[in-house]
C-alpha cells in the first residue's frame, strides 16, 4: 500500500470503492481484490488513529 496514504486519501479511496460496489461496477472476478483493498484502508485508518508516528519533517 502507498506509503504516503493520509486519512483524507484513505477516506476517499474507501468511498470510491463503496460507490463502485453500490453501483454494480465491480466484476465478480475482482471482488476479492476489492475486499482486500477496503480492508487495508479501514485497517490503516483505525490503526493510524491509535498510534503516534514521530514526524520529523513538515508536510507542506
Amino acid at each position: 500500500m502507498n506509503q504516503q496514504l493520509t486519512f483524507d486519501t484513505a477516506f476517499s479511496e474507501l468511498k470510491k470503492l463503496v460507490n463502485q460496489i453500490e453501483d454494480d461496477e465491480i466484476q465478480l472476478d475482482t471482488l476479492a481484490e476489492k475486499v482486500n483493498e477496503a480492508n487495508e484502508l479501514i485497517q490503516f485508518c483505525e490503526s493510524k488513529l491509535r498510534t503516534i508516528k514521530t514526524e520529523t519533517a513538515k508536510q507542506s
Binding site: 468511498k15 454494480d24 465491480i26 471482488l31 483505525e46 503516534i52 520529523t56 508536510q59
Partner: protein
C-alpha cells in the same frame, strides 16, 4: 524669638483644621493607583493615589482600604476580570483622615465598578476597531463575530499532532492532558508543550513568542491549543493585547482557545476558535477524531453489505441458471414424453428436410424407433398435439 510651642499643639491645630473642613464629608476622586499592598488575611489594603504629568508624578497621597471596604477589591477583580494592581485608574469614594502620628491619608470607602468596566470596554472596543482597521484580513461580521484567516483555516480531518501553549504545571495543562491521555477510544496524540507564563504584564509577549516558535518548528502541527486553568477568574489582560490578538488572527495553523469561562471572551478568543475550558478543547479534539472513525465505520458497513448482496445475487442467479440448464436437458424433455427425430444421425428441426420414403430415427426415453416416412401433412391450428 517667640516661645516655641510643643509639636502636639501645632499638630492638634492641623488636626482640628482638617476635621473642621473634612469631617463627615466623602469625595469621589479619579486617580491612578500604585504601591498596592493587599493583605487578604487581614482584609486590609495599603496603596497610593497618584496623578502624573507625562511621566512625572505631580500629586501623591497615601490611601487605605480597611476591612469594612475590602470587599470592594474582591468585587472589582470579579467584575472587571483584572487584578487590582498598580497602574490601574479607578474612581472611588474617599474620606480624608488625619492621624497625629501617621499623618494624612485617604480611606477608600467604595469603588465605582461601572467606571472601571466602562473603561475596559472602551479599551477593548478600541483594540477590536484597530484590528479591523489595520488588518484587511480581519473582518467584523454582521452577527458581531469576527472573520479571521485563523478561523477560516481548515481543521484537519483527524487531529494527531498538537502544540499546547499553557502555563507549566497549571490546572489547564492537567485538565487538557487528562482528557487527551488514556482516552477510552485509544486515540493517540503527539502533544508538544510550549510552556510559558500566561498571566501578568509580560504574558502577551511570552505567548506570542511561543506562537513564533510553533510557526518555526520542524514539527508539523495540526492544531495549536491555548489553555488556561480554572480558578484564575481574573486577569485576562494578556489575552486582550493587540499584538497577540493580531498574531492569533493571522496564524496559519488553526488555534483552539480554552482560556476562560462562560462569561469571559477575550479578544484572543474572538480571533480564533473559542471553546470555554481546557476540558472542552480536549473533548472537541477527541470528538472530531471519533466522528471520522464513525464515517469510516459507516463506509465499512455499506461496503460489506453491498459485497454480501452482490455475492448472494450471484448465488441466486447461479441456482436459476442451473435449473434452466437442467430443464432444457434432452433427458428432461424425453422424460416428459417428447421425442427427438434424427435422420442420418442429425437432429431434424426443419421437416422440409425430410421426404416421404426417408428413414428416420425417433428417439424416445427408453427406445429408438426406426421408421420410413409414408406421409407428410402440415399442422393445422386444429391439429391435436
Amino acid at each position: 524669638m517667640p516661645t516655641p510651642q510643643k509639636l502636639s499643639t501645632l499638630i492638634n491645630e492641623i488636626d482640628a483644621t482638617i476635621r473642621n473642613r473634612f469631617a463627615g464629608n466623602t469625595f469621589w476622586i479619579k486617580a491612578e493607583i500604585t504601591d498596592v499592598k493587599k493583605q487578604p488575611d487581614k482584609q486590609w489594603c495599603f496603596l497610593k493615589f497618584i496623578e502624573k504629568d507625562g511621566n512625572t508624578i505631580t500629586t501623591e497621597m497615601k490611601a487605605v482600604f480597611w476591612s469594612n471596604a475590602y470587599y470592594n477589591i474582591v468585587a472589582f477583580e470579579k467584575e472587571t476580570q483584572q487584578v487590582f494592581v498598580s497602574g490601574l485608574e479607578i474612581t472611588c469614594n474617599v474620606r480624608v483622615r488625619f492621624h497625629k502620628r501617621y499623618g494624612i491619608d485617604l480611606e477608600v470607602l467604595e469603588i465605582d465598578f461601572a467606571y472601571a468596566v466602562g473603561k475596559l470596554e472602551l479599551e477593548r472596543k478600541q483594540i477590536l476597531d484597530r484590528l479591523v482597521r489595520d488588518n484587511p484580513a480581519i473582518q467584523l461580521l454582521s452577527n458581531g463575530n469576527y472573520a479571521t484567516p485563523n478561523k477560516q483555516a481548515l481543521l484537519p480531518t483527524v487531529f494527531k499532532s498538537i502544540a499546547l501553549i499553557t502555563a507549566p504545571n497549571s490546572d489547564g495543562q492537567r485538565d487538557f492532558n487528562k482528557v487527551i491521555d488514556h482516552n477510552k477510544y485509544g486515540y493517540a496524540f503527539a502533544v508538544t508543550p510550549f510552556l510559558t507564563t500566561i498571566q501578568g504584564d509580560t504574558a502577551s509577549l511570552l505567548i506570542l513568542q511561543q506562537l513564533q516558535l510553533i510557526a518555526a518548528s520542524k514539527i508539523h502541527f495540526d492544531v495549536v491549543v491555548i489553555v488556561r486553568g480554572g480558578g484564575s477568574d481574573i486577569d485576562f489582560k494578556s489575552f486582550n493585547d493587540y499584538e497577540l490578538a493580531k498574531t492569533i488572527a493571522l496564524f496559519p495553523i488553526p488555534i483552539l482557545t480554552g482560556i476562560g469561562h462562560d462569561r469571559n471572551t477575550s479578544i484572543a478568543d474572538l480571533m480564533a476558535r473559542q471553546l470555554k475550558t481546557p476540558t472542552e478543547v480536549a473533548t472537541f479534539i477527541l470528538e472530531n477524531n471519533m466522528s471520522f472513525e464513525r464515517e469510516i465505520e459507516i463506509l465499512k458497513e455499506r461496503f460489506f453489505y453491498s459485497i454480501d448482496k452482490a455475492l448472494k445475487e450471484a448465488a441466486t442467479a447461479l441456482t436459476g441458471y442451473r435449473q434452466r440448464v437442467k430443464n432444457l436437458h434432452p433427458t428432461t424433455i424425453l422424460n416428459k414424453g417428447f421425442a427427438i427425430v434424427k435422420m442420418n444421425n442429425k437432429i431434424i428441426t426443419n421437416p422440409q428436410n425430410i421426404n416421404t420414403g426417408d428413414e428416420i430415427q425417433v428417439i424416445l426415453k427408453t427406445e429408438t424407433i426406426y421408421s420410413i416416412i409414408t406421409k407428410k401433412l402440415k399442422n393445422e391450428p386444429t391439429t391435436n398435439i
